[in-house]
Symmetry: C2
Subunit: 544 residues, 2 copies
């Protein structure tokens, strides 16, 4: 260890040590980029960094005034509008822990998250007020204070039944002193992942990890000062891959996007000059398939990070001619979002034909700069041969890995066994070390960028009186990438039809999680009785 | 503090916590950028990242084999050639602390540094062998093992009297396991600064600070992947502003530059495609004043960081037309190099006339992204009015501030009083917060990018039998920026001439520190007997 012969007087002090936190980026930007445009939403909301900082300060003050103490959880049910982004700074600036909840979830799951996360307060967009109220009504234990975030321009006016976000801000002190972390390991955010078992797990982020994620992403996304970023990735997914926390670091402008449509995206590029966006391959499909009338011309190149599933080669070919450069990235909620990227080796690959280029772009690639080691290992945690054929599990070590699962030390211990985070994703590694996902060990179905736990859907189907056994796998889908397809073994003598079973599932699950196709048959099993999902996936590929 | 209601199982572990160190950058680059060109020196030395990593590994192994244990100091007396850069990774990779010594220093000072730093081993370029041997001969206590680094192409072949660097590497194990820091606060480098008192102080860097310096510099220098960096800033100055540690992070190429001449710089830009370089204003002057025959044409823009003194407006105007974009940065050895930058606000300043642009570019600007707070304060450590007139001291807080001075806890405590590093530099702050240095409180003279302590020079002059009192200030100089000018009050009845006194000083000081002009007069003093250096500076400005 590199301690010198005499380290007397060489300790940490206020002058030479500051806990790493993304809060520092906005504090600096409020001085360095004070008059630059920080955020845009529609015609009305155009704020500078000085104003953005003031709004976050007011939010922190207001939350503090409502009794939010350091370590308390503040939840949100908001799409990608300014309040959701401001919560990323305002909540931690009063010491709170931000819990952005997926607005597409069902009442039962939202109630579970609120109870498990112990949210003291929830900011709710008027569109999702019914969901929030139903969840609060259903949950056990103390219920969170509800603050309403109306969006009149989008057709969601205030209900009149709750204090509104803007009223709360108006009454707060713009000179409130931010509560900065004293230890960079303090908790910053709580994100529930669908996981593989019935109930979602609460992934805890710390300030250090988010800070380093922002520093590494600047490098990986080849960003210089003042990018214009369109928020397509929902902020309730890994806090939008931490991009909101990154923008003040580089004096960027965030362009909010409430509803993800091709015209909205093309307009933002053409009118606001968007330079960067991230999104699932379904977003790329949307752009490629947009009719001529919905497209807009622009003469700069837009850098796109895509993740969730490899984009189809046909999509890649088409979108590049439209002015987008696509980079495949890979990560999980447990890793703050993307931690690997398919770094493009122009000198080797620029001259390749389109199909070969697309095949490479479908790789998940190599570690981001802030990560220490990401590789593929066999069951004994040995490096697999890098031959493009041998399979193993992607294993992740580095500073942008979660603290662990909230109130679930057993799951945390299991996830971190042997000093790496076990991703659960099965991959090969090419000769140059680039990883490529071959299978998903955890049976996650990715539909329109949303993770669906097959186990959760199976659980619901199994609740139906007629169902003996259910196995849910991904079925390829032109629009959504994948949709859930259920194989069901019925109890003897029963004959429900598929539509009835789908309706049953929809009654208990968020709409996107319900199976889109059902096949009745005896399920193929191994000698030990384990369902052979591999066989079912092959069958699902064949369906219409 | 942001600790949640239940933090059970959310501790640091190998999966989610790695001490920050620039060593990680080269480890990652050896995989991610394995076949990319990492370093160029002359015709012969062109190595990839895989090879660069292997050479550093061999160096670490060899040092370890020679008994260098973690925490031991390894010194160098080498110009900017590959061995000096490899030492930046190879020394810490065996747990050692790197002490790059200024090759322009005198024997006495080098001996002092070797003794005070307790170097166990020193790598010495053949050109500086005489200096190193004389220093070793003169020093008290255990002497370092000397390894010679010949440079045949540059006319400095091996003496034959010491083991050579390449022989040492050839005998080492390329699979040696790097010794990574277990605590990011461990010491990484030791850099002696001229300071203000007679003897230099040993500034200690830690791994965390250097890592964050590299991350912040990518943002500030607006770098994307694969820059081509020319090493003009000596690596014995703040480790070349940490740029060697940064390059592997972005897969850049380092082009070594042993002797700084206009043809060498233009050739590197034209032949190797250099995109970035750093240097004192004297380097800019050299380029601007180079005869047409020494210039080369190139059609890209070269980004230049300059520091030490503001470049003259005339220089700035000329160099921009040659294809260079200059950014003024500011920092000290105590801050790992640059920590403020004059971020260019194009939307406000692009349209200004050249003199107005040059005036702005002469500002030291605002904090780098990895710094927490850099501002100007009065003697009571209160923020000064930002009016461009009031003066105060630049105060610095952040993660790229030294651990402290080696074996000098009193000086460390004084430097960090009140939770900020006291820079000693006097500045004004403009309305937008941009700082501009107005005076140097510590009387440092900056000559050709080298710091000269006026107190040190005064001390030598005072050793002369005829001298009663000596005060040294900066005199403006077209070539060197500043040179030392001495005002001397003689003892009654003595009449030495200026040439003799300069020769006397040259015998005791490095050549660049000796005064270039001497004025004999009674020194102006305050009522309390303090020399009015302010008056002397005015006089020095008037001299021919």
């Amino acid at each position: 260890m590199g301690w010198m012969s005499d380290e007397n007087g060489l300790d940490k002090c206020a002058a030479n040590y500051t806990p790493l936190t993304p809060l520092s980026h906005l504090r600096r930007a409020s001085h360095v980029f004070a008059q630059r445009l920080a955020m845009v939403y529609g015609e009305e909301h155009r704020v500078t960094y000085a104003q953005y900082h003031e709004r976050c300060t007011r939010l922190a003050c207001a939350l503090s005034g409502k009794g939010i103490a350091p370590g308390d959880v503040v939840a949100t049910l908001i799409p990608n509008v300014p309040a959701q982004i401001e919560a990323h700074f305002g909540v931690p600036a009063c010491g709170g822990v931000l819990n952005t909840i997926n607005t597409r979830l069902d009442v039962d799951t939202v109630a579970y998250i609120l109870r498990h996360g112990e949210a003291k307060l929830i900011l709710v967009d008027s569109q999702f007020l019914q969901l929030a109220e139903a969840a609060c009504a259903q949950m056990d234990g103390p219920k969170p204070t509800l603050i309403e975030v109306p969006d009149v321009a989008a057709g969601h006016p205030a209900s009149g039944r709750f204090e509104t976000y803007e009223d709360m801000l108006a009454g707060a002190d713009p000179s409130f002193e931010w509560i900065m972390p004293q230890d960079e390991w303090e908790s910053l955010a709580l994100n529930y992942t669908s996981g593989t078992t019935g109930r979602p797990k609460g992934v805890v982020y710390h300030h250090r990890g988010a800070y380093l994620m922002t520093m590494g992403t600047v490098v990986s996304w080849r960003m210089v000062l003042h990018p214009i970023y369109l928020t397509i990735v929902p902020l309730f997914h890994c806090n939008g891959w931490n991009h909101s926390w990154m923008m003040p670091l580089i004096g960027g402008t965030v362009v909010c996007c409430r509803d993800i449509t091709a015209p909205a995206i093309f307009d933002a590029i053409a009118d606001e000059g968007v330079t960067h966006l991230g999104g699932a391959p379904i977003v790329l499909n949307m752009l490629v398939n947009a009719p001529e009338t919905e497209r807009r011309k622009f003469d700069h190149q837009v850098e796109v990070f895509t993740a969730g599933a490899p984009p189809a080669p046909a999509t890649l070919s088409k979108i590049e001619t439209l002015g987008f450069n696509v980079t495949q990235v890979y990560g999980l909620t447990e890793t703050y979002g993307h931690v690997t990227e398919c770094i493009w080796r122009g000198e080797d690959w620029d001259a390749l034909e389109k199909p070969a280029r697309a095949a490479i772009k479908a790789r998940q690639g190599v570690a981001f700069p802030m990560m220490e080691d990401i590789t593929v290992m066999d069951a004994q945690m040995r490096q697999i041969p890098m031959d493009g054929t041998c399979k193993g599990e992607i294993m992740i070590r580095g500073n942008s890995v979660m603290k662990g699962y909230f109130k679930n030390p057993d799951a945390t211990r299991e996830a971190f066994e042997g000093g790496y985070f076990h991703s659960g994703d099965i991959a090969v590694q090419h000769g140059d070390g680039y990883m490529q996902i071959a299978d998903r060990a955890k049976d996650i179905i990715i539909s329109g960028g949303e993770n669906i736990s097959s186990v959760e859907v199976e659980g619901v189907l199994m609740e139906h009186d007629d169902v003996l056994l259910a196995a849910v796998v991904a079925k390829p889908d032109d629009k959504w990438g994948e949709v859930p397809c259920a194989f069901v073994e019925l109890k003897p003598g029963t004959r429900p039809d598929a539509a009835a079973l789908i309706a049953f599932a929809r009654g208990k699950l968020a709409g996107f999680k319900a199976p889109k196709a059902i096949v009745f048959e005896e399920l193929p099993k191994t000698s030990t009785g384990k369902i052979q999902k591999f066989e079912l996936r092959k069958k699902a590929q064949m369906l219409d």
